[in-house]
Subunit: 94 residues, 4 copies
Amino acid sequence: MGVLNDAELAAFAADHPGWSAGPSGLEGEFTFADFTEAFSFMTRIALMAERANHHPDMSISWNRLTVRLVTHSAGGVTDTDTALAVAIDRIPRP
Amino acid sequence: MGVLNDAELAAFAADHPGWSAGPSGLEGEFTFADFTEAFSFMTRIALMAERANHHPDMSISWNRLTVRLVTHSAGGVTDTDTALAVAIDRIPRP
Amino acid sequence: MGVLNDAELAAFAADHPGWSAGPSGLEGEFTFADFTEAFSFMTRIALMAERANHHPDMSISWNRLTVRLVTHSAGGVTDTDTALAVAIDRIPRP
Amino acid sequence: MGVLNDAELAAFAADHPGWSAGPSGLEGEFTFADFTEAFSFMTRIALMAERANHHPDMSISWNRLTVRLVTHSAGGVTDTDTALAVAIDRIPRP
């Protein structure tokens, strides 16, 4: 599977406001009302990730969730990552 | 803590459309887009319940979640139950 | 996919102590130290179910978890159900 | 509530093998069989944290979970943090 080059990554980030391209992949930041809302959103991503057998790194700090997407086996961000980012963006937010 | 009588239970259910008064307590039914949405909503209730140290019985069947609230130690539905029902109603739904 | 007949269901239940064959499928009952242990075990089953795209009905009542496995589209218990039951049995318990 | 000084932090870490004292607080690393086991353990910590209204920063990377405990309002690691670390250590591991 092809790895996105820098121009493709920048184009994806420009089209998907919650996401930015960093050295370690595609990174999304999400802020919620409180820990319960943040953790339940994280649980939904966990279920989607397990379904896809493609697991982002995730960090939670009370009401803030950071999601990092990269395909380690490919050495970069692939279509699998951008597909999961798009699926996360489609989760309805309150 | 006082147990709601039948008239009070009926009044609560009339004011809170998702909830009905049954023989085993206050029962709420919630339907979601799919299992991931239902289970993450259930996770949020689980966190709220653990915080309140008052745990409803919950059943999940793919996209349907049933929540049953009763205070066993009091032998009926109490203010603790209606408070949790109101808190669940306040969770933003997509 | 073939539906297990009564003799096959009884044989499975005899071989797998936590499970019994009921009118609505294969039913497992699990008891835990408290709600947090029960709900986190339930979360693990939820992830496995989403991965398999085969979701049992589950009910939680504080420290008790009930899991019901049936393949509605096949009208009975199939190998998909027994495979998930076996996978649940393999989850290490404290 | 008192903040642990460096000697007290070092003593705690010496007594609790999974934990180390870092610049950002008390840090624990946990490794599991797979994502489902790691995330369900994380869910149990999330429930305990919500009960205590004291939420560690947590990061998950497939089968690895990192937990960071600090009391921001006190400017350091307090008894609330060490109590949660001890409670996490008491969670039975497979």
